[in-house]
Amino acid sequence: AQTVTQSQPEMSVQEAETVTLSCTYDTSESDYYLFWYKQPPSRQMILVIRQEAYKQQNATENRFSVNFQKAAKSFSLKISDSQLGDAAMYFCAYDVANKLIFGTGTLLAVQP
């Protein structure tokens, strides 16, 4: 069975600093997609970044980038130059047959 694990329930970062959120997953598939979603206090789920497993190059979206290690089944999210608006719950997710399996989330606090 596919599983997604986020081992950091809470993280904190100073404004303008860099933080990395961890995610590991388990799958027997060779081709799949991985996602990071952000959920601010408004509860809206917002896609931050996606990674295709067959692409070795790590995905980047502005201040957000991933470190994708396929052999290790690791998919961490790096947020650079953290801003107050980055404070939110972050979920890692794995796409299997057009269905998402989510991790339990990491609550990120940004200190001014």
Partner: protein
């Protein structure tokens, strides 16, 4: 904005009563989903639909049923609500973008079962 609305947005009900949550989309997407979100569990799939009258169970389907008689509406029913079904419920649609499927979420419904 994927044009997804959920109703009601908040509901308080009593144990044993039936509850129906509605998800409405305006862009004719084939796939629709219902998730529940609970502290310590992230989002978990309840049921999903891959077309009108075509539905299947997700990870946590016990106590829930769904119906999809029209492309735009996906209904989630709790036949006899229990306190363990107190949760935030999210509807989602799947859209194919550049060769991959991206899910877009509705605003959520907070359900409290007393």
């Amino acid at each position: 904005d994927a044009g997804i609305t959920q109703s009601p947005r908040h509901k308080v009900t009593e144990t044993g009563t039936p509850v129906t949550l509605r998800c409405h989309q305006t862009e004719n997407h084939r796939y629709m989903y219902w998730y529940r979100q609970d502290p310590g569990h992230g989002l978990r799939l309840i049921h999903y639909s891959y077309g009108v009258k075509d539905t299947d169970k997700g990870e946590v389907s016990d106590g829930y049923s769904v119906s999809r008689s029209k492309t735009e509406d996906f209904l989630l029913t709790l036949e006899s609500a229990t306190s363990s079904q107190t949760s935030v419920y999210f509807c989602a649609i799947s859209e194919t973008l550049g060769g991959y499927n991206e899910q877009f979420f509705g605003p959520g419904t907070r359900l409290t079962v007393l």
